[in-house]
C-alpha cells in the first residue's frame, strides 16, 4: 500500500468517536498548558502519562501528541495579550504581538497566530506524512560541527534585534551569554559562577528569566506609567483583513520551511527556530521598519515556525526514536510503555498505529483552529480590563509559572530579580530580546564548539572540512555583515 492509502486508513481510525474524543481532550489540555506560563507541554504530557495504564495505545498517544502541538497554539495567547510568553518558542511573538495588542489589534494578532499555527502545522504534517524515514537519515548527518554553523547563523540575528544602538544590543547579548554559563560545565562538571549555592548549581532557568524580563518588567513599567489598561484603543475588528492575510502567505511558506527543516534536527533548540524565522521575515520584507512595532508578519512567522517545528520533531521521533525536545522525550516513554519502540520497524510492524496518530494530528489541528478562533473575541477583551485588576493577576501567574517549571522557589526569586533587571534595561534603552536569544543559543554554541573540537583532537580545521558546516558558518557571517552594512541606511529612512 502506498503512503496515501495508509493515510486514508489512518483517517478511518482517527475519525472514530473514541479517537476524536481523545484528540479533543488533548487539544483542549494542550491549549491550556500553552496558555499558562511555566506549565509547558512537557509537564502536561508527563502528568497524563499514567493514564496510559488504562487506555489502549492509539487513543492515548493521540491525546498526548495533541497536548504537544496544542500547546504551541496556546503559547501565543499570553505573549500577545500581556507580554508573557507562554512557552519558550513564543518569546519572539511578544515583539510584535504585544505591540499589536496595545494598538487595539489584539483580535487580528490572536487570529493570525491561530491561523499561522494551523497552516504551518498542517504543511509540516504533509512533510511528516511523505518524507519521514528518508528525512530522518538526513537529520543524522547533522553533527556537532554543523550545529556550530547553525548557531553562528542564528547569532547573526542579534544584530537585527539590537534596535537603535548596536553597542546596547551586543551588551545585552553578552549578558545573556554570561548567564547561560552559570551552573555545571557540561563537559567537565566544574561549577561555574555558582557562588557555593545549590540554587545556581542547576543553572539559570530560561523560563524564569523570560517571565521576569517580559511579564514582571512590563507590569513595573505599566504601573509606573499609570496606564489604565493594556490598550485603551477601541477594540476594532477581530479578524485580520484579507490584505493582511495575503501578505502573510509567503511568510507562512517560509516559516514552514525554516520550522520543519530545523525541527527535524534533534540538536537544534526550538526556541532559536522562531527567532530565525522572525529574522528571515524582516530581511525579506520591503518595510522592515514595521517589525517590532506591530507587524502582523512578526506574529505569523514565529507562530507558524513553532508549529512546523512541532510537526518536524515527529520525524526523528517516529523514524528513529530520537526525541528532539523534552516533551517528545516524555511522549517517547509513553510509546515505549506500550511496547511501541519507535524506529523504522514501527512503520512496518504497526502501520495502523503510526498512521492513525499522524492522521489524528491533521484532525487535531482543525480542532485547534475551530477551538481558538472563537476564543479570540473573548481573549481580546482582556486588554481592556482595568490594569489595577490585570497587574496583580499577571504577577500572580508569573510567580506560579516560575515556580512550576522545576517546582523551585529559587526560580521565583530568579524571575523577580530579572523583573528588576528588565526594568533597568528598559529605562536605560537596552533591548531585552538579544539577551534572551543569547541565553538560548549559548549552551548550544558551547556544546557544539567543544564537541566538534574533541571530535577532531582539538583541530579547528573540522569547521572548514565539512561542507554543510562551511555553508552555515559562511551564511551566518554574510548575514551579520549584511546587517551591519545595512544599519546606517536603515537609521536614516
Amino acid at each position: 500500500m502506498d503512503t496515501l492509502g495508509f493515510l486514508f486508513q489512518g483517517f478511518g481510525q482517527a475519525l472514530t468517536p473514541q479517537n476524536l474524543f481523545f484528540a479533543l481532550i488533548g487539544s483542549v489540555l494542550g491549549t491550556l498548558v500553552g496558555v499558562l506560563p511555566g506549565i509547558g507541554p512537557t509537564s502536561g504530557i508527563a502528568i497524563l502519562l499514567p493514564l496510559t495504564s488504562f487506555l489502549p495505545p492509539t487513543p492515548a498517544i493521540i491525546m498526548l501528541a495533541a497536548i504537544y502541538y496544542g500547546a504551541m497554539y496556546g503559547g501565543s495567547t499570553t505573549a500577545i495579550l500581556v507580554n508573557i510568553p507562554g512557552e519558550v518558542s513564543s518569546v519572539v511573538t511578544t515583539l510584535d504581538g504585544y505591540q499589536m495588542a496595545r494598538q487595539g489589534r489584539a483580535g487580528p494578532a490572536l487570529a493570525i497566530a491561530a491561523i499561522s499555527s494551523f497552516v504551518a502545522g498542517t504543511l509540516g504534517l504533509v512533510g511528516l506524512t511523505f518524507f519521514a524515514p528518508p528525512l530522518a537519515d538526513v537529520a543524522l548527518r547533522i553533527g556537532p560541527p554543523e550545529y556550530f554553523g547553525l548557531v553562528v547563523l542564528a547569532f547573526s540575528v542579534v544584530v537585527s534585534l539590537s534596535g537603535a544602538s548596536l553597542v546596547k544590543g551586543l551588551s545585552a547579548a553578552a549578558l545573556g551569554a554570561l548567564l547561560a554559563l552559570v551552573g555545571l560545565d557540561p563537559m567537565s562538571g566544574v561549577r561555574r559562577f555558582t557562588f557555593g549555592t545549590s540554587t545556581l548549581l542547576s543553572g539559570i532557568d530560561f523560563i524564569a528569566v523570560i517571565i521576569g524580563l517580559f511579564a514582571i518588567t512590563e507590569v513595573l513599567v505599566g504601573v509606573e506609567a499609570s496606564i489604565t489598561a493594556v490598550s485603551t484603543a477601541a477594540l476594532g475588528r477581530l479578524m485580520p483583513r484579507w490584505s493582511e492575510l495575503r501578505r502573510c502567505g509567503g511568510t507562512l511558506l517560509r516559516a514552514t520551511g525554516v520550522g520543519f527543516f530545523l525541527g527535524l534536527l534533534p540538536g537544534c533548540t526550538p526556541g532559536a527556530i522562531s527567532f530565525i524565522s522572525y529574522d528571515l521575515e524582516r530581511r525579506v520584507s520591503r518595510t522592515p521598519e514595521r517589525f517590532g512595532r506591530g507587524a502582523i508578519e512578526g506574529v505569523a512567522a514565529p507562530e507558524g515556525a513553532n508549529n512546523a517545528t512541532t510537526s518536524g520533531g515527529f520525524v526523528p521521533l517516529f523514524a528513529l526514536g530520537i526525541p528532539a525536545t523534552p516533551a517528545l522525550a516524555v511522549l517517547l516513554s509513553g510509546l515505549m510503555i506500550y511496547g511501541l519502540q519507535p524506529g523504522p520497524l514501527l512503520f512496518e510492524k504497526r502501520p495502523e498505529f503510526v498512521w492513525a496518530v499522524i492522521a489524528s494530528m491533521y484532525v487535531g489541528n482543525v480542532m485547534l483552529l475551530v477551538l481558538n478562533l472563537p476564543l479570540v473575541g473573548l481573549w481580546a477583551r482582556l486588554v481592556r480590563v482595568p490594569y489595577a485588576v490585570m497587574a496583580p493577576l499577571i504577577l500572580l501567574f508569573s510567580v506560579l509559572g516560575a515556580f512550576s517549571v522545576r517546582n523551585s522557589f529559587g526560580d521565583v526569586g530568579m524571575a523577580l530579580a530579572f523583573g528588576a533587571v528588565g526594568y533597568l534595561m528598559v529605562k536605560l534603552g537596552y533591548p531585552t530580546a538579544p539577551l534572551v536569544l543569547a541565553l538560548i543559543l549559548t549552551p548550544m554554541l558551547e556544546n557544539a564548539l567543544r564537541q566538534s573540537l574533541s571530535m577532531a583532537a582539538g583541530s579547528p580545521l573540522i569547521f572548514v572540512t565539512r561542507p554543510i558546516a562551511v555553508v552555515f558558518i559562511g551564511a551566518g557571517l554574510a548575514l551579520t555583515a549584511w546587517s551591519l552594512l545595512g544599519r546606517p541606511r536603515r537609521r536614516t529612512t
Partner: protein, 323 residues
C-alpha cells in the same frame, strides 16, 4: 492487684484499639521526586512504580520532576523533607554513587537518607555505528590501541554511566585513555544520535537509551554488561562471553526517602516493590521500557549502593574527573 491488672489490660486493649482504628498509610497523596526531567530513565521507572502503588493502595502517588544540577536539586529537596512517608525520591546510579565518585563535595551525605528498595537495573550496552567495521569489543580494543588519537567516543554526560563504562573498557583493553577523543553530549539520546550519524565511533550507554536505535539498525550492539543476554537482543554477547569479564558498570533506579523514615513505611514500600517485581504485568511494562526488574530490600539495597561507590571512586580518580 487484680484491679491494677485489669486497668492495665484495659489500657493495653484501648491502645490497641486506637492503633487499629488509625487509618493505614497512605492516607493522602504521596509525592515521588525525580531529580531529572520527564522522559529519562529514572522518570520512567518512577512512573511505573507510582502507577502500581496508586492502583494497589487507592491513593494517588504522584511523580514530581525537579531537574537540575545532575539530580542534586531534587535529591536535596527530599532529604530536607519531613520523614512522614509522603515525600520520597527515585534514587539512581547518578545521584547516589557516580556523583560521589566525581565530586568531593556533594551538598548531601550518601548515608543521609533512608534506602527503601532497588527497583530496576539498566544494563550498559557497548555500541558502534551500524556499518562500522568493528564486529566485537575486541575489534574496538585493537583499533583504539593501534591509533588512540583517532579514536572518538560519545559520553552522554560527565557524571553518568558512560563516563565509567567507556573508561573501564578502555583501561581493561590497555588503551592510553588520555590520548583518545572524548566527546561529551548533554544526555544519552544526543550521544547515540551522534553515533548513528557517524560523528563518533563508539559509545557505552544504557539499554533504555540504546535499545531503539539498535532494533532500528542505526547502531549495533557489541556487548552487554549483564550476567545474561538481554530479552529481545539475543545476538549481543555478554561481557564475559566477549572476553571482558571485568566490566561491571550498571545503571539502576530505586526508591529512597528522607533520613529518619519510620520502619513501618519503609517495610510497606519494600513489600510493595517486592510484590510488583513478581507481577507479570509490571514485569512486562518494565521490559518494554528496556529495564531489568531487580528487587532488593532496604539492607541489600544499601549494601549494593556502597559496593557501587567502591567501583567508581578509583575509576574517577584514575580518569582525572574527580573534583
Amino acid at each position: 492487684m487484680r484491679r491494677i491488672l485489669l486497668v492495665a489490660l484495659f489500657g493495653v486493649g484501648m491502645t490497641a484499639g486506637i492503633v487499629d482504628a488509625q487509618p493505614q498509610y497512605p492516607t493522602k497523596p504521596v509525592e515521588i521526586v525525580v531529580g531529572f526531567a520527564p522522559g529519562g530513565g529514572a522518570d520512567v521507572a518512577a512512573r511505573l512504580t507510582a502507577a502500581y502503588a496508586s492502583k494497589k493502595w487507592g491513593q494517588p502517588v504522584n511523580v514530581v520532576n525537579m531537574p537540575g544540577a545532575s539530580g542534586i536539586t531534587g535529591t536535596l529537596h527530599v532529604l530536607r523533607a519531613r520523614p512522614d512517608g509522603y515525600t520520597l525520591f527515585f534514587d539512581n546510579h547518578a545521584v547516589s554513587s557516580m556523583l560521589f565518585a566525581v565530586q568531593g563535595d556533594v551538598p548531601y551525605k550518601m548515608d543521609g537518607k533512608t534506602p527503601i528498595a532497588l527497583v530496576t537495573l539498566d544494563p550498559v550496552i557497548y555500541t558502534v555505528k551500524d556499518d562500522s567495521p568493528w564486529k566485537s569489543l575486541g575489534d574496538v580494543a585493537a583499533a583504539a590501541k593501534a591509533n588512540p588519537r583517532a579514536f572518538r567516543y560519545a559520553l552522554g554526560g560527565i557524571a553518568g554511566v558512560a563516563s565509567f563504562s567507556v573508561s573501564q573498557f578502555l583501561y581493561a583493553a590497555g588503551v592510553p585513555v588520555p590520548e583518545t577523543n572524548r566527546v561529551v553530549f548533554p544526555g544519552g539520546a544526543p550521544a547515540l544520535t551522534a553515533l548513528a550519524g557517524g560523528h563518533v565511533d563508539f559509545a557505552g550507554q544504557q539499554w533504555s537509551e540504546s535499545g531503539g536505535l539498535i532494533l532500528g539498525r542505526k547502531i549495533r550492539g557489541l556487548t552487554v554488561v549483564h550476567p545474561a543476554r538481554l530479552p529481545g537482543l539475543p545476538d549481543i554477547p555478554t561481557a564475559r562471553e566477549a572476553g571482558f569479564p571485568g566490566l561491571d558498570v550498571v545503571g539502576w533506579q530505586g526508591l529512597s526517602g528522607p533520613p529518619g523514615l519510620p520502619a513501618a513505611i519503609v517495610q510497606k514500600w519494600a513489600a510493595l516493590v517486592e510484590e510488583a517485581a513478581k507481577d507479570p504485568a509490571f514485569l512486562e511494562q518494565a521490559l518494554r521500557v528496556n529495564k531489568v526488574i531487580a528487587y532488593k530490600g532496604p539492607e541489600a539495597f544499601w549494601r549494593f549502593q556502597q559496593e557501587e561507590l567502591k567501583k567508581y571512586l578509583p575509576l574517577a580518580t584514575r580518569l582525572g574527573i574527580r573534583k
